[in-house]
Amino acid sequence: MTDWRADVFISAVQSSLMCQQFFWLIRKDLLSEWRAKEFLPGGAVFGLIVFSLFHFSFPQEVSRLASGAYWFALFFGGILGLLRLHERETAHAALDLLRLSQTSTTLLFLSKIVSLMAILLVLEALLAVPLVLMFDLKNLTFSSLLWGALIGFLAALGFALIGSLLTAVAGKSSAKELILPLVLLPILSPLFIAASEAGMLLGNPTEEFFSWLRLMIVFDVVMGVCGWWLFETVLETN
């Protein structure tokens, strides 16, 4: 075999091994959540509590507040879930063992993002049904559902990117339950604002709606770069 063919073969094998590792890492996280059943049931029930509290706090403006209530429930429920995920992982020293196995940090970061996003997207879908029923949302068309799905995807991506980084930071403190919301929520505020505002404009996607979408994309890109750059520092710190 000539040299270049050998190089191509080696890089193909390496890529295939990395893909395999990547899918195993995602499988591990999802299987762990499936067995523990903490994030999704807890987040869903928390979401229903938020919906009912919003309903009784603002009875006159309930359909106008639907978008805000939905993202409020998801972000706060998401924080509770993040803490549980982190607790499970540190209790079994999973991250330390993975690092000992010389898994690349980028792969670890990416797998964390994908598995967290998958859980968040399921939670979003679970909460969307009671949202429509409890907030009496009418005039929902197929295109508004598609735009809603895009908002949900961008919000889940942003939350997963910065949530996994800052959960690892807060996890090192003695008061992680206090630290995580205090640090994460202000940083997530542009995503929360954009998702709520875009959600309110779902029925009528004007230029303003697209400007909120652009903002969510900018947030995801910036936080993606920060997360990728800083995740190794957080993992290395013990």
């Binding site: 800052l166 206090l178 630290i179 202000p186 910036v222 936080m223």
Partner: protein, 231 residues
């Protein structure tokens, strides 16, 4: 060489706070005695000198914290970490002053204490982010863990602020447009501009003195910690 450095440091330690106090007194005198009364807002407008100077100093302090955090992650030098922490504390202090003087000025002028406008909200979120940063520093006891993790929070937090500003820029804007570099129709009366520059320098010197003292305290605390470990 070390003796000269120590002597310079001692002089700076005494001289900087003294100079800050003198310049602050001069600035306060100028605000009340030299600056002309604003035509529409009257006497209450004098709070502008404290408000704007605090805002500029707070942003500079947060920027310094951001740069020092990057410096720490690149070099792992603890002196960067000390400066990052001190400047974040000073930034929170001056940002608190902005958030207090703003409503005090807004109530008589706008008729309300607070509005969720772009400038106000982004300043408030900035303050919240750095209060979170201080909480991270407080609740992580080990210095080896605290320094890199708080650097991560400082970097992410500072990068987030322009996005927060964009996120709320479509909201109604009650806050006036910038008086300096605000385009056509903006600008200050020359006497007001001189007092503003003096106030900014006084506030800046005060922040520098406080930051310097905070860094010195942190460095002495580290020394005490090391001595305690040895004994």
């Amino acid at each position: 060489m070390v003796a000269i450095r120590n002597r310079f440091r001692d002089k700076l330690e005494k001289g900087l706070p003294l100079a800050a106090v003198i310049l602050m007194a001069a600035a306060i005198w100028a605000i009340f005695m030299i600056a002309p009364e604003e035509a529409t807002m009257g006497e209450v407008q004098r709070i502008f000198y404290a408000h704007l100077s605090s805002a500029w100093v707070a942003f500079l302090a947060f920027a310094l914290s951001f740069v020092c955090s990057i410096g720490f992650l690149s070099t792992r030098s603890t002196s960067f970490d000390r400066w990052a922490a001190a400047s974040a504390e000073i930034g929170v202090l001056f940002c608190s002053a902005v958030l207090i003087t703003g409503p005090l000025w807004a109530k008589p002028v706008w008729g309300i204490w607070w509005t969720w406008d772009a400038r106000l909200t982004s300043t408030f979120v900035l303050w919240l982010i750095y209060v979170g940063y201080l909480f991270v520093r407080r609740f992580i006891s080990s210095a080896e863990v605290k320094a890199p993790l708080s650097a991560v929070v400082a970097i992410v937090g500072f990068v987030d602020v322009p996005i927060v500003y964009m996120a709320i820029r479509w909201w109604r804007t009650q806050h006036p447009q910038p008086v300096i570099g605000g385009g056509e129709g903006s600008g200050l009366n020359p006497a007001m501009a001189k007092v503003l520059i003096l106030s900014f320098l006084a506030w800046l010197l005060l922040a520098a003195a406080l930051c310097w003292l905070r860094v010195r305290i942190a460095s002495l605390e580290e020394r005490v910690g090391r001595i305690k470990k040895q004994t």
